[in-house]
């Protein structure tokens, strides 16, 4: 089961990177998250598995899908789109960065592979029974981690206000000017 879920996660993630259409990328990422949720079940973490599906696949990915469809720009800029002056030069400069990035990812995987397989023969087998249950998670979350939990709510509030401010249509300055007396209301 581990190998099945792992293969699904890796293949889906690779296809997310390989797709040119962001809608397919989002849908494949949801498949990858489903496989990861299965892995969490295998790790006896049912709470994480459930919120992986509900929060990640259900909420965050729907947000992504909503934005992809709102922007209605499904395809990446092709070479013809980049003929405007200046963009071509920057694109050539970016090619070096991309080659470096691919190399970096490859070096990262080789290094991590080396670190994990040459660690002196320790297999890292799991203990037989897991302590974690949803009740234990809740108890720890509201006792030891109560302060970070409350900070999280502030973070979400700030993110919500920030998203609304960033995505609103008109700039803020004319709205403030409009409120001053003597100027007629703009339509």
């Amino acid at each position: 089961m581990f190998y099945l879920f792992g293969a699904v996660a890796i293949v889906a993630s690779l296809l997310v990177i390989a797709q040119r259409n962001p809608i397919y990328s989002v849908l494949l990422l949801i498949a990858s998250f489903g496989a990861l949720s299965g892995l969490y079940v295998l790790l006896e973490a049912p709470f994480v598995a459930v919120i992986q599906i509900i929060v990640y696949a259900g909420a965050i990915m729907v947000l992504f899908l909503f934005v992809v469809m709102l922007l209605n720009a499904p395809h990446e800029d092709t070479e013809e789109d980049l003929e405007t002056p200046g963009v071509e030069r920057r694109r050539l400069a970016g090619a070096g960065v991309r080659r470096f990035g691919g190399l970096l990812a490859l070096a990262l995987i080789v290094e991590l592979w080396w670190a994990l397989t040459k660690n002196g023969g320790e297999t890292g087998a799991f203990p037989a029974a897991a302590e974690a249950s949803v009740a234990a998670i809740g108890r720890a979350l509201f006792t030891d981690y109560a302060f970070p939990f409350e900070v999280t709510s502030i973070l979400i509030l700030v993110a919500m206000v920030g998203a609304v401010v960033l995505a609103r249509r008109e700039p803020i300055a004319p709205a403030a000017r409009r409120r001053s007396p003597g100027t007629p209301d703009l339509p």
Partner: protein, 101 residues
């Protein structure tokens, strides 16, 4: 054969490398944000696997916080993408090289 901690860590390393490659190789802001989500999920898998190996719930609680931060990051990042797209009608990060327009 039952998988050990090392195999979970290897899977997580592969997923993280895929996310890193996606951030650098792609030229679409939405796909770059999706690659960041892949990286966050690779780290989540590491946390849960270590928590299982150490027999504590702390790993799962940190995953909870990581998911919260990921949600906030996605909301703000997508709002920024919408604002950028309104100005330039492009999702290519190479078109946003100027700081002011």
């Amino acid at each position: 054969m039952t998988p050990t901690l090392n195999e979970y860590l290897l899977l997580s390393a592969i997923l993280f490398a895929i996310g890193t490659g996606g951030v650098f190789l792609r030229r679409n802001l939405i796909t770059i944000l999706l690659s960041i989500e892949i990286m966050l999920n690779a780290v989540n898998l590491t946390f849960v696997a270590f928590g299982r190996a150490l027999g504590s719930v702390d790993g799962q609680i940190i995953v909870f916080f990581v998911m919260t931060v990921a949600a906030a990051e996605a909301a703000v990042g997508l709002a920024i993408v919408i604002g950028l797209f309104r100005h330039r009608a492009s999702l290519n990060p190479d078109s946003f090289a100027s700081l002011k327009w």
